[in-house]
């Protein structure tokens, strides 16, 4: 409650006290521009992080719960092996559902490569069985061993071979997004600290006058801190709006776009950028306060 009232008092400010710091100067423009640029980049880093997170989840969930059994056998043995595989799967713990793909489904899978007139009944095309796992999942090694014994032409592909590197890559991308946000925040803090220090040095006369007439260091620091915090808040708000607008205007890749389709923000995720301006203001507050107190201490 105390912190809240302090924050409100800080934001509401004192119109007279605010005027003691000269309103112009390159440090003012630098702070606003740096905050806007950092916020703009932060929106994209956030979007990248959230998108790769979604991608990792989607790939992980979609592929982890399904597997395929491919049966390669002479045509006269195909039905017998398919029956054997179906019976094995029916008694395998962890298998929720198993379904041989129909002729039309297999044709649809092969059509992009071989065209629409593929004579499936005359070609030795392997039969495919789609396996859906339940939450517990099945023992892949055990299932492979049973298939080898009872249906030698059946091979289990649980997608792990290519799913894992994809999920790993997406997870790393998500981590990189977070690292980018941390770096952007740190950089924003550094830039604002430098700007505030430069402003304090440039306003040595102001500090001397204020001290001469009995201003406490906390009063002087507060005047500078409030000015720079509000500048960072304003700059980052503009940067966030522009960043969000740029994301919103990204071309839609549709269902063919794969990865690109998920690059923007979705649903409630659009609320995340709203945190950027207050967070930037907090960074500016801490950075400027530290710079101001250090500078004033040195100027005793």
């Amino acid at each position: 409650m105390n912190l809240l009232s302090n924050m409100l008092r800080f934001l509401s400010g004192d119109a007279q006290a605010d005027r003691v710091v000269p309103p112009t100067g390159f440090t003012a423009r630098l702070t606003v521009f740096a905050s806007a640029a950092m916020a703009f980049l932060a929106v994209f880093a956030l979007a990248l992080s959230l998108a790769t997170g979604r991608l990792a989840d989607r790939w992980g969930d979609a592929l982890a719960k399904s597997a395929t059994i491919r049966i390669s056998a002479p045509l006269d043995q195909m039905d017998a092996q398919l029956l054997a595989v179906t019976e094995i799967l029916a008694t395998t713990p962890g298998v929720k559902e198993a379904r041989p793909l129909g002729e039309e489904e297999q044709r649809a899978l092969l059509e992009p490569w071989f065209g629409p007139d593929l004579p499936l009944d005359r070609l030795p095309i392997p039969r495919l069985v789609e396996v859906i796992e339940n939450d517990e999942g099945f023992d892949a090694d055990g299932l492979r061993a049973r298939l080898a014994g009872e249906a030698p032409g059946a091979i289990l592909d649980d997608h792990a071979r290519w799913r894992e590197p994809l999920v790993k890559a997406a997870t790393r991308l998500r981590s990189l997004g977070f690292v980018a946000i941390v770096l952007i925040t740190t950089l924003a803090g550094v830039v604002i600290t430098l700007a505030a220090s430069a402003a304090l040095s440039a306003n040595e006369q102001v500090i001397r006058v204020l001290r001469l007439i009995g201003a406490r260091d906390s009063y002087i620091a507060h005047a500078f801190v409030r000015r720079y915090t509000l500048r960072a808040l304003g700059g980052s708000a503009v940067g966030t709006v522009l960043g969000a607008l740029a994301l919103f205007l990204l071309p839609s890749a549709g269902s063919e776009g794969g990865f690109l389709t998920g690059l923007g923000l979705q649903g409630w995720q659009w609320l995340w950028p709203l945190l950027i301006p207050p967070f930037a203001a907090l960074v500016a507050f801490l950075a400027t306060r530290q710079a101001a107190l250090t500078t004033l201490q040195e100027k005793r």
């Binding site: 007279q16 000269p22 006369q205 001290r211 001469l212 007439i213 009995g214 406490r216 009063y219």
Partner: protein
């Protein structure tokens, strides 16, 4: 109110002030004189806590400056009005805002807004209230500095060469204002090398003249 006891101060390896003992009692009026570079400004700065004595002690309203924290110094400055030769204003604020600044930084306000008008009238700057400091003449800036120094109704006024940049007529005017303050019970010390100014004060006020010579402060003459 302000007590200096065997104070020494120097810059680098050189000694500027040595074994200075001085007492500014309530309601007293002092002139501090001496050649340029003798240490008048340094002694003034010691008297309002901007500098800390290397040796000896400086007590402001009973507090030893050496033991003060920065906030204590700020608090003491509110009881000491300082007028500098170079004035020192915030150039982006109007004259009225500059004069009000001591009240602003201490979170106070005038009981009645007309008090500011009275103060401006006292120093003859009613017409310049909204002007920015760079737009004012030297004499106007000095009078504005004096108004700023007294707006908190301080106990002590320290004026460092207040007439250094103004003509004789304005010097006399400023002296009159400082004498008026002294008659109101304020302690006043003026650092100046202008002996004519000191002589002209003879008929107006009981003042003690202190002279800095050979790093030390001595009484140059009493009861002008």
């Amino acid at each position: 109110m302000i007590e200096l006891e065997q104070v020494a101060y120097g810059y680098g390896t050189g000694t500027l002030l040595s074994d200075v003992t001085l007492s500014l009692a309530q309601g007293s009026f002092h002139f501090l004189t001496g050649p340029s570079g003798a240490g008048k400004t340094t002694l003034m700065k010691l008297c309002y806590g901007e500098l800390v004595a290397e040796q000896g002690s400086v007590a402001l309203f009973g507090q030893n400056v050496r033991d003060m924290q920065r906030d204590d110094v700020a608090e003491v400055r509110r009881r000491i009005g300082v007028v500098h030769q170079d004035c020192q204003f915030l150039d982006h604020l109007s004259l009225a805002e500059n004069i009000m600044l001591p009240l602003t930084v201490s979170g106070r306000a005038l009981h009645d807004p007309s008090e500011l008008q009275e103060l401006l009238a006292w120093v003859g700057l009613q017409q310049q209230a909204n002007a920015k400091p760079p737009e004012l003449s030297g004499g106007e800036r000095q009078r504005a500095a004096l108004a700023r120094a007294v707006i908190m109704s301080p106990d002590v006024i320290l004026a460092d060469e207040p007439t250094g940049n103004v003509d004789w007529e304005m010097s006399v005017r400023l002296l009159q204002l400082l004498v008026e303050l002294n008659r109101m019970g304020k302690t006043v010390m003026i650092a100046t090398h202008d002996m004519n100014l000191i002589r002209s004060a003879k008929s107006q006020v009981q003042a003690r003249v202190l002279r800095i010579s050979n790093h030390q402060v001595a009484l140059a003459g009493a009861n002008l």
